[in-house]
């Protein structure tokens, strides 16, 4: 549940950097504190030219550098609302409106379909800027619909995770998105459609404990925080400092939960290579019965 901290941090960083660079052109590297222009960083795929730190980016940036040619956004018609009337210091509705306004996004995940080189792929990409990338009903529903789309169109699925976990303000509905997305992924698996999971900084809580960890291939960006519990929670429990590198991508690779850690600059080529293997004539054909079943369910709804 670290999103709240990060959200607050995120807000302060945004305002302070505005003060330093009124034109909004300068971006500071969190690690080495070097400042760079947006153009400079964009060319470098937002990897710090000085220290190689992977700056956090969102769905727009990933779409831009991963896809080749035209892309199409899907399911943008789905919107969150405050159905529980959840008001703590602020109402959920206010948080939603503020997040929408600040980011121009419809929610914490964007589904994009297109091609990486010549390979069709459908990607669901999370945005941390939208309420800490938290998973509520819309995130779950977009993933579910993306999975149906992938089964119907027989395009591989890529999910890029970046999330503090479940969206508390949707309470049990957010919890059930873990079950929903995992269940839908089991259908994708049954249909023989590959799923690539890319974990970026951070991927924790209900997101790591559901779709993020369920890839046929699990990939992470370097030095991302990936785990079930947030480091602060674990520190509180064990009352000791955490070992260096604990819950980093490299740590997870070492413990067997990732297939690879990939530098952002190699990501497109890696995905392209992976996609090519799944074009083999031996790949399981689409499960026609399942496609029909999904069509029937959709018809009912």
């Amino acid at each position: 549940m670290g999103w709240f901290d990060r959200l607050k941090k995120g807000i302060t960083t945004a305002t302070s950097s505005k003060k330093e660079a009124p034109d909004g052109m300068w971006i500071k590297c969190k690690k080495c504190k070097g400042t760079f222009t947006k153009e400079e960083l964009e060319k470098e795929l937002y990897v710090c030219p000085k220290c190689d730190y992977h700056l956090p980016i969102g769905s727009e940036e990933y779409t831009k550098f991963l896809f080749t040619g035209d892309t199409q956004k899907l399911f943008e018609n789905l919107k969150s609302y405050d159905f529980l009337e959840f008001t703590d210091l602020k109402s959920y509705q206010d948080r939603l409106e503020k997040a929408t306004k600040a980011t121009g996004l419809s929610d914490a995940i964007t589904v994009v379909t297109g091609k990486i080189q010549r390979y069709p792929v459908t990607a669901a990409i999370m945005d941390f800027r939208f309420i800490g990338g938290s998973m509520g009903s819309v995130v779950g529903e977009k993933i579910a619909r993306a999975i149906d789309y992938c089964i119907e169109q027989r395009t591989p699925l890529l999910i890029i995770s970046k999330s503090g976990g479940a969206r508390m303000m949707e309470s049990a509905f957010s919890l059930m998105q873990m079950a929903k997305t995992s269940a839908k992924l089991s259908q994708l698996a049954k249909a023989g459609v590959p799923f690539f999971s890319l974990m970026t900084d951070p991927t924790t809580g209900g997101v790591s404990a559901s779709y993020a960890m369920l890839g046929d291939i699990n990939i992470a960006e370097p030095n991302a925080l990936i785990g079930f519990a947030g480091p602060r929670v674990i520190k509180d429990v064990i009352k000791k400092d955490l070992p260096e590198g604990f819950q980093s991508s490299e740590y997870l690779l070492e413990h067997g939960f990732l297939d690879m850690v990939v530098h952002r600059k190699d990501l497109k080529k890696t995905l392209k290579d992976l996609l090519s293997y799944f074009e083999s004539p031996d790949v399981t054909p689409t499960n026609k019965k399942l496609v029909e079943e999904i069509a029937v369910v959709k018809g009912k709804a």
């Binding site: 549940m1 709240f4 018609n77 919107k79 969150s80 609302y81 159905f83 529980l84 959840f86 008001t87 703590d88 509520g136 009903s137 819309v138 779950g140 579910a144 479940a166 508390m168 949707e170 309470s171 049990a172 509905f173 957010s174 919890l175 059930m176 998105q177 873990m178 079950a179 929903k180 995992s182 269940a183 839908k184 992924l185 089991s186 259908q187 049954k190 924790t204 809580g205 209900g206 790591s208 404990a209 559901s210 993020a212 960890m213 369920l214 990936i226 785990g227 079930f228 519990a229 929670v233 674990i234 429990v237 064990i238 955490l242 070992p243 604990f246 819950q247 413990h255 079943e293 369910v297």
Partner: protein, 324 residues
């Protein structure tokens, strides 16, 4: 009625039970016939229980779900099955004492039953890690569910956890992956799955054992994404707002049923499961039996499809394409 534990809102009962104990002691000595007075007092207790329990706040229900005398998984397993044999280990790394698994005879039918187990004494609580399973527990559960599938045994899971364990080894051994894997596999298991929340249903630790054809909550339990205390500490930076958080989270069995996120509520006996333990086990057994009867004869593919469809429908959002 010795050693009864009373929660703050149960306090009006304490004096009544003390009186009852004294009366029964006197009447046992046999000089005076006290049976009418005893009967009257028992009625008064029942009335008081009814009035207390008919008007509980969400936070009070959370407290009841953690009542120190509330029965845990092992109690239900002992009461509900003619015969049960415990099985151990995840076949990978260890045996998690916070997660128990059994082969059991359920009125003539073999089932696999898995549950989180808390402890009653300090020593037991430590041994059971307060019902907080590690990845080994979730993998043990999955191994046993696969065993059930292989031999076509229905699966029953009993959920009672304040959360999956958070710690160094839990992370090192892949807590997130273990929970995710359970849900992924449970969605496709070819045997019926019935889950009952018998105490606390906290977050990933609960859902990792509760993707099922039928999910029930006992009346005085809770099931959601975060405990009221943690919710309070994150949103208000203080533990003081746990009551408010409990209300906001809509985490009671009644709320969950009204949302369609569970399939039924199992009514608890007057006074709660901790007061009438055997009656509580009977009620749980009845609910499981009815659900099982509905599920066993279904075509497995149909059952799986309905299971996934049920979860696919969970979520509230505005669909502007439909709204327009």
């Amino acid at each position: 009625m010795e050693n009864m534990v009373f929660l703050d809102f149960e306090k009006p009962l304490e004096g009544l039970f003390e009186q009852l104990a004294k009366l029964e002691e006197v009447s046992e000595k046999g000089d005076v016939d006290m049976s009418d007075t005893v009967k009257e007092l028992k009625n008064k207790i029942k009335k008081t229980q009814k009035s207390i329990y008919s008007d509980l706040s969400p936070w009070q229900k959370v407290q009841l779900s953690r009542h120190p005398q509330r029965p845990y998984s092992l109690f239900y397993i002992e009461k509900m099955f003619k015969k049960a044999t415990e099985l151990h280990g995840d076949r990978l790394n260890g045996d998690d004492h916070a997660m128990v698994g059994f082969l059991a005879n359920f009125d003539g039918r073999t089932v696999v039953v898995i549950g989180q187990q808390k402890g009653a004494t300090t020593k037991e609580r430590q041994y059971r890690n307060f019902g907080m399973a590690n990845p080994e527990g979730y993998r043990k559960a999955l191994r046993l569910m696969k065993l059930a599938e292989k031999f076509n045994f229905p699966i029953i899971t009993l959920v009672d956890t304040p959360g999956a364990h958070c710690g160094l080894e839990a992370e090192e051994h892949g807590q997130a992956a273990a929970i995710a894997q359970n849900m992924f596999e449970m969605a496709q298991l070819r045997v019926p799955i019935i889950s009952v929340v018998i105490g606390e249903g906290a977050s990933g630790g609960a859902i990792g054992l509760a993707l099922a054809d039928r999910v029930f909550m006992m009346e005085y339990t809770w099931f959601t994404v975060i405990s009221p205390e943690s919710c309070s500490s994150i949103l208000w930076r203080s533990w003081e707002y746990k009551e408010t958080a409990a209300e906001l989270l809509k985490l009671t069995s009644e709320d969950m049923l009204s949302f369609g996120l569970i399939d039924g509520v199992i009514k608890e006996p007057v006074g709660g499961a901790h007061f009438a333990q055997a009656a509580a086990a009977t009620a749980v057994k009845k609910a499981i039996k009815e659900a099982l009867n509905q599920l066993v004869d279904m075509d497995p593919d149909e059952r799986i499809q309905q299971r996934i469809e049920k979860y696919s429908k969970m979520g509230r959002f505005i669909d502007e394409a439909v709204a327009e």
